[in-house]
C-alpha cells in the first residue's frame, strides 16, 4: 500500500507564480492616503490562514479617497487606477466613531476591497473560513468562526446563505456589489474582522495583513493533485486549482515524453465525497480507462500534469510520473463498423481507444449504434443499461469510463428500456481497431443488437425513451469521464501480480502490433 500524507499532498505542490501574482504589490500596513487619517502600523496577522474573500483578482484601497470617491480625485469609481496595484490599507481612515485600536481612537473599521472589475453582482465573495452564518442584514452578512472571530461582508448582492447555515471555507456567500440599503456606494466589499481582544472586548481589528497573506496564498497556489491509481485498467486521481475552486482542472497525459496531443487530456470534474472536506468542494476527481495506445507490451513512462487555465503552465500530479507496461489484448467476438460520426458521438479517440492489433480474423458484425443511449438501472445504481439495437445490454457503472460515460449524468431507465430483451453484457470498454484502413469497434459478444453471434440481422437501433424525454449518454458524456464516486472496480485489485506468462497461456493468440492510421468508414 502506498499512502500519501496530507502534508505531502497539500504542501508539495509546486509554487508556480501566475501572471497576476507577479505584479501584485502592496503598501505597508498603516500607510493611508495622505490626508485620510492616521493608520495603524501593525505587522500582526490577526486572522492567519484565511481564504481570500473574493474570487479572482482584487484591489484593496479606499472608496472615499481614491478616484471618484467623496474626498478623492474627480473621476469615475471605475477608473483603472482604482483597479490596480499596489494595495493600500484603509483601516483607521478618518471617521468619527470609537475605534480603540486606531491611533486617533476613531476610524474606519475594516478594509474596502474592489473585485476584478467595477461590475456589480458579478464577482463571487466566498467564506474565508469554515463557520456559521450568524446574521444577515439589509446589506451585511456575518460569518463567525469556531474561535468566535467574526468576519463581516458588507454590500453584497445575490446572497446565497441563510442565518444559521454552516459554511465551508470557499463556499459562495454572495456577489460583490454596491448594496447599501437604498443608499448609493461604489461596488466593493467592505470586510471587517471583529475579535475579542483581551482586556478590551469585541473590537474591529486590522484586517489588512490578513488579507494580504490570504491573497498571496491564493496567487501562489497552482493547480495540484494526485495520480492515485495507474494500472492497465484505469487512471484515477484528482486535480484542483485553489485559485478557481469551483472550476474543473484539465489534466494532460504525456507518454514517453512525446508532446501530448489534444486528445490526451482528462477533465477533473467528477464528484467524489472524500475530496469535499480536504479541498472545500467535491467535483475534482478524474477516472479513465487507460489508453489503449499503450497496450503494446512495451514499458511506457506516463506523466499526468494539471493545466493552469490562467497561464497554461503544467503542474505534475503527485505520484506522477509512473510507468505502465500493458500487454496486447486478445480480441474475441466480432468487429463492428464504426462511422466517423459515430466515433464522435461516442467520444472515441485514437489516443484513448485505438488498439494497434490485427483484428482481421474477427467476423464483421452490425454497426455500433450511431450514438450512445444509456440509462441507470432504477433499482441498482451500479448497473447501466446500454441500448443496442432491439436489446438492452448491461454495463457496470464502474466500467462507464471505458465508454466515456458519466453514470451520475445518466437518467434512470424507464419501463420502455426495461421491457427490451436483455442482450449479452456490453463490452467493458471501447476497443477501436483498424482493418484494412477501416475503423471498427470490437464487441466481445459478437456484434450487437441482440443476436450476439457476430452475424446478427437486426433492426436499426431505436430509442424507446424518445417520446418520454429519455436521456442519451451522448448528451451527457464527459470526455473521459470518471465513475462519479463509484468504488473502483474489483478488477483493479484483481490485476495485481498478473503475469504476462499466465496471461499469454490463457490468451493463446497475441496479435501483432501494426500501427496504421485509421481511415474511418463513412456510412
Amino acid at each position: 500500500m502506498k499512502r500519501v500524507l496530507a502534508a505531502v499532498l497539500l504542501g508539495v505542490a509546486t509554487l508556480a507564480t501566475t501572471a497576476y501574482a507577479e505584479d501584485f504589490t502592496f503598501l505597508p500596513p498603516g500607510d493611508l492616503i495622505a490626508g485620510s487619517g492616521d493608520g495603524r502600523v501593525d505587522a500582526k496577522v490577526y486572522a492567519p490562514g484565511l481564504l481570500f474573500p473574493i474570487q479572482g483578482k482584487a484591489y484593496a484601497n479606499s472608496q472615499v479617497y481614491m478616484t471618484g470617491g467623496l474626498y478623492g480625485p474627480s473621476g469615475s469609481q471605475c477608473a483603472p487606477v482604482n483597479f490596480s496595484y499596489p494595495w493600500r490599507d484603509n483601516y483607521c481612515e478618518e471617521r468619527s466613531w470609537d475605534m480603540p485600536l486606531c491611533p486617533a481612537g476613531t476610524g474606519h473599521q475594516g478594509q474596502d476591497i474592489r473585485a476584478a472589475s467595477c461590475e456589480g453582482n458579478v464577482h463571487g465573495a466566498i467564506a474565508v473560513v469554515d463557520g456559521t452564518i450568524t446574521s444577515i442584514g439589509s446589506y451585511s452578512v456575518y460569518l463567525t468562526a469556531p474561535d468566535g472571530t467574526r468576519y463581516d461582508y458588507l454590500h453584497m448582492d445575490s446572497v446565497q446563505v441563510s442565518v444559521g447555515e454552516k459554511v465551508k471555507r470557499g463556499d459562495l456567500l454572495g456577489k460583490v456589489s454596491n448594496n447599501f440599503g437604498g443608499t448609493s456606494t461604489s461596488v466593493h466589499l467592505h470586510f471587517n474582522i471583529k475579535q475579542n481582544i483581551a482586556n478590551i472586548g469585541s473590537v474591529y481589528v486590522p484586517p489588512y495583513l490578513s488579507l494580504v497573506t490570504a491573497y498571496q496564498a491564493t496567487l501562489s497556489q497552482p493547480p495540484r493533485g494526485a495520480l492515485e491509481l495507474a494500472d492497465c485498467e484505469r487512471l484515477v486521481g484528482w486535480a484542483f486549482d485553489p485559485e478557481k475552486p469551483g472550476a474543473a482542472v484539465a489534466v494532460e497525459l504525456d507518454v514517453d515524453a512525446t508532446p501530448p496531443s489534444n486528445e490526451a487530456q482528462l477533465l477533473a470534474d467528477r464528484e467524489r465525497s472524500d475530496l469535499c472536506d480536504t479541498l472545500g468542494s467535491c467535483n475534482h476527481a478524474f477516472a479513465a480507462a487507460s489508453p489503449l495506445s499503450l497496450f503494446d507490451g512495451a514499458t511506457h513512462a506516463v506523466r499526468l500534469r494539471a493545466i493552469d487555465a490562467e497561464d497554461a503552465t503544467r503542474h505534475e500530479l503527485l505520484e506522477s510520473p509512473t510507468t505502465l507496461a500493458c500487454a496486447p489484448l486478445e480480441l474475441t467476438g466480432a468487429r463492428r463498423p464504426l462511422a466517423e460520426a459515430t466515433a464522435t458521438a461516442w467520444k472515441l479517440t485514437s489516443f484513448w481507444d485505438e488498439l494497434t492489433a490485427d483484428a482481421s480474423a474477427l467476423p464483421e458484425g452490425k454497426a455500433l449504434p450511431s450514438a450512445p443511449k444509456a440509462f441507470v438501472d432504477p433499482s441498482d445504481a451500479k448497473l447501466i443499461w446500454v441500448l443496442d439495437g432491439a436489446t438492452r445490454r448491461k454495463l457496470a457503472a464502474s466500467d462507464a469510463p471505458g465508454w466515456h460515460m458519466d453514470p451520475a449524468a445518466l437518467k434512470d431507465a424507464g419501463a420502455a428500456v426495461l421491457e427490451l430483451a436483455e442482450g449479452p453484457p456490453f463490452p467493458r470498454r471501447a476497443v477501436w481497431v483498424t482493418v484494412e484502413g477501416l475503423a471498427y469497434v470490437v464487441d466481445d459478444a459478437g456484434g450487437g443488437g441482440g443476436g450476439g453471434n457476430g452475424t446478427p440481422s437486426l433492426p436499426e437501433p431505436t430509442d424507446p425513451e424518445a417520446t418520454s424525454g429519455g436521456n442519451s449518454a451522448s448528451a451527457s458524456c464527459a470526455v473521459h469521464a470518471s465513475t462519479a464516486g463509484a468504488p473502483l472496480a474489483p478488477a483493479v485489485g484483481s490485476m495485481k501480480n498478473t503475469t504476462s506468462i499466465g496471461a499469454l497461456a490463457i490468451g493463446g493468440l497475441l496479435l501483432v502490433a501494426r500501427r496504421r492510421r485509421s481511415r474511418l468508414r463513412s456510412r
Binding site: R3, L5, A6, C326, D443, A491
Partner: protein, 198 residues
C-alpha cells in the same frame, strides 16, 4: 466466417502491468483532526478561554417568546445568552452557538439586530488594555458606527458581548447615534445557556 460463439466477456488479458500492488489508497487524506468542539482551533498561545459567571435567574417571559429551535440552541451556549426585550423580535430570532460563543439575529421593520457573546479572548501582549468611553448596562462600552451599522461592545459575566443595529434606510434614526443601541443594550434579558439556571 470464423465465428465461434464466444459468449461472455471480451477477455481483457492484461499482462505484465508495471503497477502490481494493491489498489492502493492514494486518496487525499483528511486534514489532521483538530479540536473542533470545546477546544477551538486557534493558536493556544494567543487564546484565553474565560469562565463565564452565570446569572442566577432566567427571564421566563423572554424565554417563552423564543421559538422552540432557538430555545434548543441556546441550551448549548457556552456563555450566558442575552436577548432583546421585544417579543416580536424574539419570536423570529435565530440563535446559533459555537464552541465559545453564541449569536442571535433578528429582523423586523427595516432593522436587523445582531447580538454576539464570546468567552474566548485573543491575547496580544503588545496591545494595552482600553476602556470604552461610553456606558451600557452599567459598564464601560465602545460604541462605533460601521458603514451605517451602529455597534456597542462591552464585557459582562466574563464574556465579551456586542450588539449591532443595521437599518435598511440610512436615514433611520435608530442607527444614528448611540441612544437607540444603548437603550436596546440596557434592556437585554438573560435567558440561559449550558451553564445557567433553567
Amino acid at each position: 466466417m470464423l465465428a465461434p460463439r464466444l459468449v461472455g466477456i471480451l477477455a481483457l488479458v492484461v499482462a505484465g502491468c508495471a503497477e502490481s500492488g494493491d489498489a492502493f489508497d492514494r486518496r487525499p487524506p483528511k486534514p489532521t483532526p483538530t479540536a473542533v468542539t470545546k477546544a477551538a482551533p486557534v493558536d493556544a498561545r494567543k487564546a484565553l478561554v474565560g469562565t463565564p459567571s452565570w446569572p442566577t435567574s432566567v427571564d421566563g417571559p423572554a424565554l417563552k417568546e423564543l421559538s422552540e429551535a432557538a430555545r434548543r440552541e441556546l441550551a448549548h451556549s457556552p456563555v450566558p445568552v442575552l436577548v432583546v426585550d421585544e417579543p416580536k423580535l424574539l419570536r423570529t430570532a435565530v440563535i446559533t452557538t459555537g464552541p465559545h460563543w453564541y449569536a442571535l439575529s433578528t429582523k423586523d421593520g427595516g432593522l436587523t439586530t445582531a447580538l454576539h457573546g464570546t468567552r474566548l479572548a485573543h491575547d496580544y501582549p503588545e496591545i494595552p488594555p482600553a476602556r470604552g468611553r461610553s456606558e451600557v448596562r452599567g459598564r464601560p462600552a465602545f460604541i462605533t458606527e460601521n458603514e451605517g451599522i451602529v455597534s456597542a461592545s462591552w464585557l459582562e459575566n466574563g464574556v465579551a458581548y456586542s450588539l449591532d443595529l443595521e437599518c435598511f434606510e440610512r436615514q433611520d434614526t435608530r442607527c444614528q447615534g448611540a441612544a437607540h443601541v444603548t437603550a436596546i443594550a440596557n434592556r437585554l434579558r438573560y435567558v440561559g445557556g449550558e451553564g445557567g439556571t433553567r
